[in-house]
């Protein structure tokens, strides 16, 4: 069975610091991985995806993520962080097969203090 784990429910850091939000997955085949972001009071928005190819993928708002097959991770990164990055971030795994549906992690609430 496929699963997504975001081990950090809440991350707090200071503006200007580097952020890295962790995501690990369990899936027997080649994964398709996504990050979505939910700003306060808003809906989820697509941030970036990994399908195949380059293991570092760039997304919107200056974010990037690195796919590491060796440890089944897809961590989200940004440097420097800005207070406006405060949001809840969700990692998701495409299940594959005949029905392409997303399995979401529980999310990481990021707070960036000015």
């Amino acid at each position: 069975a496929q699963s997504v784990d975001q081990p950090d429910a809440h991350v707090t850091l200071s503006e200007g610091a580097s952020l890295e939000l962790r995501c690990s997955y369990s899936y027997s085949a080649a994964p398709y991985l996504f990050w979505y972001v939910q700003y306060p009071g808003q809906s989820l928005q697509f941030l970036l995806k990994y399908i195949t190819g380059d293991t570092v993928v760039k997304g919107t708002k200056g974010f990037e993520a690195e796919f590491r097959k060796s440890n089944s991770s897809f961590n989200l990164k940004k440097s420097p962080a800005h207070w406006s990055d405060s949001a809840k971030y969700f990692c998701a795994l495409e299940r594959g097969g005949s029905n392409y549906k997303l399995t979401f992690g529980k999310g990481t609430l990021l707070t960036v203090t000015p």
Binding site: V4, S43, L44, F46, K101, L102, K106
Partner: protein
């Protein structure tokens, strides 16, 4: 910009009552989804649809029905609402139907069942 609109934004229902959550998309996407978001869980898929007239069960369909009368509209129906269905519900449309699919979410409906 793609648009997914949910109504109502907030709903208070009584146990045993019928609740209908509505979703409209102007993206002309074939795929539409209903998720619920609860603390301690990621988004969980309730029902989805491949197009007008189609509905499919997701991961947690019990207690929910769905209706897709047109390309634009996708409803979630709680025939006999229970307090365990208190949650935030998100509708989304998908832009490709394959592994590259990107989801566009509505702003959510906060449902309280008393």
């Amino acid at each position: 910009e793609a648009a997914v609109t949910q109504s109502p934004r907030n709903k208070v229902a009584v146990t045993g009552g019928k609740v209908t959550l509505s979703c409209n998309q102007t993206n002309n996407h074939n795929n539409m989804y209903w998720y619920r978001q609860d603390t301690g869980h990621g988004l969980r898929l309730i029902h989805y649809s491949y197009g007008a007239g189609s509905t499919e069960k997701g991961d947690i369909p019990d207690g929910y029905k769905a209706s897709r009368p047109s390309q634009e509209n996708f409803s979630l129906i709680l025939e006999l609402a229970t307090p365990s269905q208190t949650s935030v519900y998100f509708c989304a449309s998908g832009d490709s139907g394959g592994p590259n699919e990107r989801l566009f979410f509505g702003h959510g409906t906060k449902l309280s069942v008393l």
